[in-house]
């Protein structure tokens, strides 16, 4: 597709269940970011992938959160044993790097997670 695609757009789950959120970045974008946006809050950095480098996981709030990026393309953010405080919009973004330059960040429309 032409833009960053995220699925599901909405997810309602029960406390304690695991959820997977998917991000399909723009083709050719080597950098991929996950952010969390709680109601009325700014963006909280979660994790960053760049090419074949080790991901920057410094923003993951707990070991219940993990993410992977397969084949340098699609990424999955997994939240295990969800808690009510995990309720938020999870945004994915991608951009490309070339010859030391960086392009603009393109965002998906987000996955809204509600934990009951």
């Amino acid at each position: 597709g032409a833009g960053v695609s995220q699925s599901p757009s909405n997810k309602v789950t029960e406390k304690g269940k695991d959820v997977e959120l998917r991000c399909d970045p723009i083709s050719g974008h080597t950098a991929l970011y996950w952010y969390r946006q709680s109601l009325g809050q700014g963006l909280e950095f979660l994790i960053y992938f760049q090419g074949n480098s080790a991901p920057d996981k410094s923003g993951l709030p707990s070991d219940r959160f993990s993410a992977e990026r397969t084949g340098g393309s699609v990424s999955t953010l997994t939240i295990q044993r969800t808690q009510q405080e995990d309720s938020a919009v999870y945004l994915c973004a991608s951009r490309r790097f070339w010859e030391g330059n960086t392009g603009e960040l393109f965002f998906g429309e987000g996955s809204r997670l509600t934990v009951l």
Binding site: V4, A31, Y33, G42, L43, F45, Y48, Q50, D56, S58, G59, L91, A93, T102, E104, L105, F106, F107, G108, E109, G110
Partner: protein, 115 residues
């Protein structure tokens, strides 16, 4: 940029009046800076970016921003607000070689436009 500060969490203007959203940064070198807009229930969209070319940057929808090194500022302006400008605006700095994927986000400014 090592830090990005948006000075107002909420700005309210009347339709047809000027908009000023303030952003300050700290950096030991000339950074790349961006403004993004987020309309309700949407992802973020790039408004404009500064990358050490012209200090006055024009973006989409009539917005512009001026990079002022002496004031370490990158304020976003628009001469005349429109109802459709009501959204959240984020100032973002490039943090070369830093963590978080080299990007530092401000906390956002919510712009309300009154009829």
């Amino acid at each position: 940029a090592q830090s990005v500060t948006q000075l107002d969490s909420h700005v309210s203007v009347s339709e047809g009046t000027p908009v000023l959203l303030r952003c300050n940064y700290s950096s030991s070198y000339s950074p790349s800076l961006f403004w993004y807009v987020q309309h309700p229930n949407k992802g973020l969209q790039l408004l404009l970016k500064y990358t050490s070319a012209a200090t006055l940057v024009k973006g989409i929808n009539g917005f512009e921003a001026e990079f002022k090194k002496s004031e370490t500022s990158f304020h976003l302006t628009k001469p005349s607000a429109h109802m459709s400008d009501a959204a959240e605006y984020f100032c973002v700095g490039e943090n070369y070689g830093g963590s978080q994927g080299n990007l530092i986000f401000g906390k956002g400014t919510k712009l309300s436009v009154k009829p």
